[in-house]
Amino acid sequence: MNSFFRLLVPLFMACFSLYAQAADLKEIQARGELRHIGVRYANFVTGDGDGFDVELVKGFAKHIGVKYKLELSDFYNVMRDLLGKDVVRNGDQVSLAGDFPVKGDMIATGFTMLPWREKVLIYSAPVFPSQVLLVARADSSLRPIKGSNDLSKDIVETKAMIGKSSLLGMERTCIDPANYGLKGKGLDLRSYTKSSNLNEIVPALINHEAELTLLDVPDTILDLQKWAGKIKVLGPISEEQKLAAAFPKSSPELRDAFDGYLRKIKADGTYDKLVDKYYPGIRQYFPEFFAKAH
């Protein structure tokens, strides 16, 4: 019996895996359903059935004539859920390992465009701007930088403030210190592992799990209201980033269809309404990006 199960289970998994593999446009249209992989994060995917990326992909599904389905994931597993492979990062080297169920056809969840990620998947055109900021508790002795017109200079000045302070991050996400050259510099880096939910980072900071943390701009806009008087932004850690939808390299037609849809909603004003609905004020924060959008 055990032998039988030893043979049956891998066979079943293989069949299931084949069935559930991420598919390109024609297969999705034939299937009649688009599976959107999202991570509960800021106002991109709220977890309540709405969010910027949720509405964006819903509109895309309707555009290509299929039903929409949201598959919730987390930042540790979001790429594995798309590719069916674990993504192993060793310095600049990225490799795929193992076989896992493919849960969705595309990622759209405030997903940052990072060079190492592009080695295993393909991005759509930029969907949203972002930047990662260094944040401290309000009672921290560190003073926010004054800010200048030179972003590189501001980044250097901000990074210099970290010193011996502990910095809370979340690996394999946009607030992974490794993305910004902070790893291996002798800093007191701490990884938040209690949850893969980025929305818990600020409460963890306030709870003295570290002295500093990283937040991207869309999240900061919300947290400065939510935690006013409890946290303060010290300065930028990264250059301006782009967020985009991600697809397996085997789905170029789906990516192209998404890019076409994105151009369409930028032209007809739907995109602007989504931005103003979920991130009012972001337009003034990144005027150049939204100017390009028009």
Binding site: P144, I145, L224, A228, G229, K232, V233, P280
Partner: protein
């Protein structure tokens, strides 16, 4: 006695009726006035109460704005911003997010706060403590200007910005007990007045707001627009008291009520009828009381008018009598059309028209209008009269039968029966004009006689002068003729003698060969010394020249005699070509230097004439021809004849005679020559001489080309002509 008094009073019955009516009306009106005064007092109280209630409603509107603005100033978004700012966060990396949140809050407040669907805030602005704008949310950018803020101190203050038509409510932002900025919420000032009543159609009920400075707040619709004097008057009327608003067009009522917790006043203007309904106003009652008195006055005036009318009728009759019986014709004309409206009966006897016939005619129909300028003269006089200046002039009128006659016309403009008229009075002056014409004819005849006398006298003088010259020439010729006769005779004899002496001298010369050489040499030397050979040749030539000179002297003398004919005072047969030649010789000195004389004689026969006078004619024509030639020219003398007449033409190539002078050249004393060069009698005299011969003298000339005089004389003398 009683009957007489009764008759006098009875004739004034309208006055008594009016007095009785007045007493009755005053009693009635007094009662009505008392009732209505009480009614008015009650209505006054109700109007003031209404005004107070509406002022409270407006105060509530303003308070709503104050509360909303204060709520914004105390909002968590602004507090968060100030908190994060106090943590030292930069605008770029952090505070921007708070400002975005504040703007979003302002947006939501603007969407939420509305008055019956219309947003009450069109712009909300957050200023920092230094007055810098941090957040500026507006419906339409630039729709409302930003207010100039002063340091607050009050919880929430109200600012009316009339030039921008906006109401601004400001509230201080307090952070940790310190004023850290202000929120200014701006809205349309007209919203405050939107619930006020403005009866556009009748204007009988108007509500509006006034500022403390007396400025009127704009309101929707078409409310009353006050001038400065009205605003000031309304601002100064007692508060909460219905007062008369004298500055309104209709003597309306007004009440002013302060809007609580603002510096505004609610002003209500309403017509008296609106306030008190159909109740009669005191003015109406007073006016009604005056009506019977007016009626009484009207009765007295009616009687006076009746008397004046009677007097006018008598006056009109008086003037009508004058109009109908005056000896001159009087036309009444319409100024506009100048047609006759009326004429007095005299028009029948002078113009031959009945009075009704002449109506509708124009003055042109009763005028001669012989010359085109007549119409212009008439029009000028009419225009002068219309201009207010009476005109008097003599005119040629015409009767109905077409007969013309003279009238003296006076025209003046007059107002007759309230109409603008022209009064034309025509006075017959035919008799006077006839006398004037006769006098003028007599005077003209006298002038002609005088002119003929002067001409005759002048010609006589010239003729006598020429006769004297002729006599002088004849006398000189006669005196010269005798000496020339014997000198000529002697010269003939002397020629014979000299010829003989020369023959003798020749014989002596031939005989010299027989003399001794000494004698011969002596003679030869003497002959050479005396130049006998030359003398012999020259003496003959001298004698010949002397004889020729004498012949010329004799011819001149003869010509002088022929020219003057001093002994020919009666008509006699004469050859005119010969006379022309004689005359040419006499005047040759005048001609020879600048003229070439061409004679084209036809060999005219002798005619019976006065040769010396005709020679004078020829001389005048020749001298004139020579004088018309400036430098060098030609004079052609041409004769011709037929069975009845002979003609003599004198044609020159001189300067000619201009057309305007051509008709006057035979007038006595007319000359174009310089003063002292001509008397102007030459051609006049020639004309007279030719007329005496029953002939005629013609002239044709072209300026610059020359002149041709042609004399035509009958071959047979016409006796009557002499």
């Amino acid at each position: 006695m009683f009957a007489k008094v009764f008759r006098r009073l009875a004739s004034r019955w309208p006055l008594f009726v009016a007095a009785a009516f007045a007493i009755y009306s005053l009693l009635l009106l007094s009662h009505v006035s008392s009732s209505q005064s009480q009614l008015r007092a009650e209505k006054d109280l109700r109007i003031v109460a209404d005004s107070k209630r509406r002022a409270v409603a407006i105060a509530d509107l303003v308070a709503e704005r104050r509360n909303a603005t204060a709520e914004l100033a105390e909002s968590s978004e602004i507090a968060n911003y100030l908190t994060n700012k106090s943590l030292g966060m930069s605008l770029r990396y952090g505070l921007n997010a708070n400002l975005f949140a504040i703007e979003d809050r302002f947006r939501r407040q603007m969407e939420k706060a509305n008055l019956r669907g219309e947003q009450i805030f069109s712009r909300i602005v957050l200023f920092d403590e230094s007055g810098q704008v941090l957040v500026d949310r507006s419906l339409e950018k630039g729709s409302h200007p930003l207010p100039v803020l002063s340091p607050s101190g009050a919880p929430a203050s109200l600012l009316i910005d009339l030039p921008a038509q906006q109401i601004v409510v400001t509230a201080p932002v307090i952070y940790k007990g310190v004023e850290s900025g202000q929120v200014a919420a701006i809205g349309d000032v007209r919203q405050i007045s939107r619930d006020l009543i403005n009866s556009d159609a009748t204007g009988s009920y108007q509500e509006f707001l006034l500022t403390a400075a007396g400025q009127q707040l704009p309101a929707p619709g078409n409310p009353v627009h006050l001038v400065a004097a009205q605003s000031t008057a309304l601002r100064n009327i007692p508060e909460d008291l219905l007062s008369s608003f004298a500055e309104s067009p209709g003597d309306d009522l007004a009440v002013r009520t302060s809007v609580p917790r603002t510096e505004l006043s609610l002003v209500t203007i309403l017509g008296r009828e609106t306030a008190y309904g159909q109740a009669s106003s005191p003015f109406f009652l007073y006016s009604a009381a005056a009506f019977p008195l007016i009626l009484l006055i009207a009765a007295v005036l009616f009687d006076r008018v009746r008397r004046v009318g009677l007097a006018l009728a008598q006056s009109e009759q008086r003037f009508r009598t004058i109009f109908d019986n005056v000896r001159d014709v009087i036309f009444v004309l319409d100024v506009a059309g100048a047609s006759i409206i009326e004429a007095n009966p005299r028009v029948l006897s002078l113009y031959g028209y009945a009075q009704d016939e002449v109506v509708g005619l124009t003055m042109s129909d009763v005028s001669e209008n012989a010359a085109p300028e007549s119409a212009m003269i008439w029009a000028e006089n009419v225009a002068g009269a219309i201009g207010g200046k009476p005109q008097l002039f003599v005119w040629r009128a015409r009767r109905k039968n077409g007969e013309a006659f003279w009238v003296e016309v006076s025209i003046l403009r007059a107002l007759i029966d309230q109409h603008d008229r022209l009064l034309v009075v025509a006075h017959d002056i035919s008799q006077r004009k006839a006398q004037e014409l006769e006098l003028l004819n007599s005077l003209e005849h006298q002038r002609n006689l005088n002119r003929q006398l002067e001409e005759a006298q002048s010609q006589l003088l010239q003729s006598e002068k020429m006769a004297s010259i002729g006599q002088l020439a004849a006398g000189v010729a006669h005196e010269i003729n005798n000496p020339v006769g014997f000198v000529n005779s002697n010269m003939g004899t002397l020629s014979t003698y000299v010829e003989k002496l020369l023959n003798m001298l020749s014989a002596y010369q031939k005989a010299e060969a027989d003399l001794s050489p000494e004698r011969r040499e002596l003679l030869v030397a003497l002959r050479a010394k005396l130049d006998i050979a030359y003398l012999s040749e020259d003496v003959a030539a001298l004698l010949q020249e002397s004889l020729e000179g004498l012949q010329r002297v004799r011819r001149i003398v003869t010509d002088l005699k022929d020219f003057s004919h001093v002994d020919e005072t009666e008509f006699q047969n004469a050859n005119l070509e010969k006379g022309i030649d004689s005359t040419l010789n006499v005047v040759w000195n005048e001609l020879k230097y600048k003229t070439e004389v061409i004679k084209e004689y036809a060999g005219v026969p002798e005619i019976e004439c006065l040769p010396s006078q005709l020679n004078q004619v020829f001389m005048n024509l020749l001298v004139n021809a020579a004088q018309s030639i400036a430098e060098r020219g030609r004079i052609t003398v041409r004769t011709a004849f037929d069975e009845e007449n002979i003609s003599i033409e004198v044609q020159d190539t001189g300067s000619g005679i201009s057309p305007e002078h051509l008709s006057r050249i035979f007038d006595p004393f007319f000359t174009t020559k310089p003063v002292g060069k001509g008397t102007g009698l030459g051609l006049s005299l020639a004309y007279g001489i030719i007329k005496k011969h029953a002939g005629r003298i013609e002239v044709s000339s072209e300026p610059g080309q020359g002149t041709l005089f042609r004399i035509i004389l009958p071959r047979q003398r016409v006796r009557s002509a002499s």
